[in-house]
């Protein structure tokens, strides 16, 4: 199946080269696209020097808008599977073939979760509490247990690509979109992955924004769970 790896990147020149090397090492059968969200550094040049296709947005859209551009690309170029992986080096590409396999087995969305085998970087205590809370909230609203709803390391099939290309939140999109997919009665599974602590750059969520994040995402999850079902259009 035709597979696309989507890497949203904002000022990630430090982290991308390592990621590209690791992607090559997987020997997987997939295309890679970097969505350069109007970076201030030379992210675009770094991608080109590695021969990686890059889409540079003329205006900074935020993580959601960047990832959605990747899904649009997947629709326009008729990909069967899209995999989202962060550009900051937290996600090890060696799990990509396993994620692909999960989608080929019939899952609509497969999330790489840190909290199934609790290996690798587990994030800070306070963040773990936040993630646990979202997990409980999603379980309450949809009846499905998602151990790592904030994970940005995930794979999906055509149906979900079509939904995401059409409708994707602007910021802090992960938990909300998981609920959207569940709401559409699609099959979501999780796969244990090992994540690393970030090496360069800074996380998009600082302490100050933490409270805003919790409130916004809580509301977004609740609204997603009572939203109308998405329109799924197949593409070719």
């Amino acid at each position: 199946m035709k597979t696309l790896v989507i890497i949203p990147a904002y000022n990630e020149r430090e982290n991308l080269p390592k990621l590209f090397e690791a992607l090559k090492e997987t020997n997987g059968n997939f295309d890679v696209i970097v969505i350069n969200d109007c970076s201030k550094d030379d992210t675009e040049a770094v991608c080109k020097s590695y021969g990686i296709k890059v889409i540079t947005l003329p205006v900074n859209l935020g993580i959601g808008g960047a990832v959605q551009t990747g899904y649009l690309y997947a629709v326009y170029h008729n990909y069967d599977i899209a995999i989202q992986i962060d550009g900051d080096g937290q996600h090890d590409p060696k799990f990509i073939p396993y994620l692909i396999k999960r989608i080929e087995e019939g899952n609509h969305l497969c999330i790489g979760s840190r909290f199934i085998e609790n290996e690798g970087f587990q994030s800070s205590k306070i963040r773990r509490i936040g993630i646990k809370y979202f997990s409980k909230l999603i379980k309450l609203l949809t009846g499905t247990l998602i151990t790592d709803p904030t994970s940005g390391y995930r794979a999906c099939n055509r149906k979900v690509i079509s939904i995401f290309a059409n409708d994707y939140p602007k910021d802090y999109p992960e938990p909300e979109t998981v609920v959207t997919v569940l709401r559409n009665k699609l099959k979501v599974s999780e796969m244990p992955v090992i994540m690393n602590a970030r090496e360069g750059g800074t996380s998009s969520i600082t302490n100050l924004k933490g409270i805003y994040y919790m409130i916004k995402v809580t509301l977004a999850i609740m609204i997603a769970s009572i939203s109308k079902k998405s329109v799924v259009k197949d593409y070719e």
Partner: protein, 119 residues
Amino acid sequence: MSSTLRLVLVIGSVLFFAFIINMVRTKKLELKYALIWIITSLSFVVMSVFPQTVFFISKILDVEVPANALFLCIIFLLLLMVFALTVAVSRQAGRIKRLVQEVGLLKADTEGKNKAPEK
């Protein structure tokens, strides 16, 4: 109401109305969004020329002090306008996002194709 205050109000509201009309005339305001402003400024003119209208409204609404009736109406109107603006901004945010994405995709697709051949 003192005649000076009344004069100031009449002049102010007429100037405001003229200003709005001029903005529309010079295409700085889109008529769609200007309509509510034209109606508002016209009603200011009417209220300053005929203050009885305000007393009349306060009587209908059963509000003792006419000024309070006026405040009530204006705040309600302002809330409506701000809400309409929020709706407009949300819609435009979505449209701009999609435009930016399409431009990015197009630029990546046409890369190298639009450049003048190198010598």
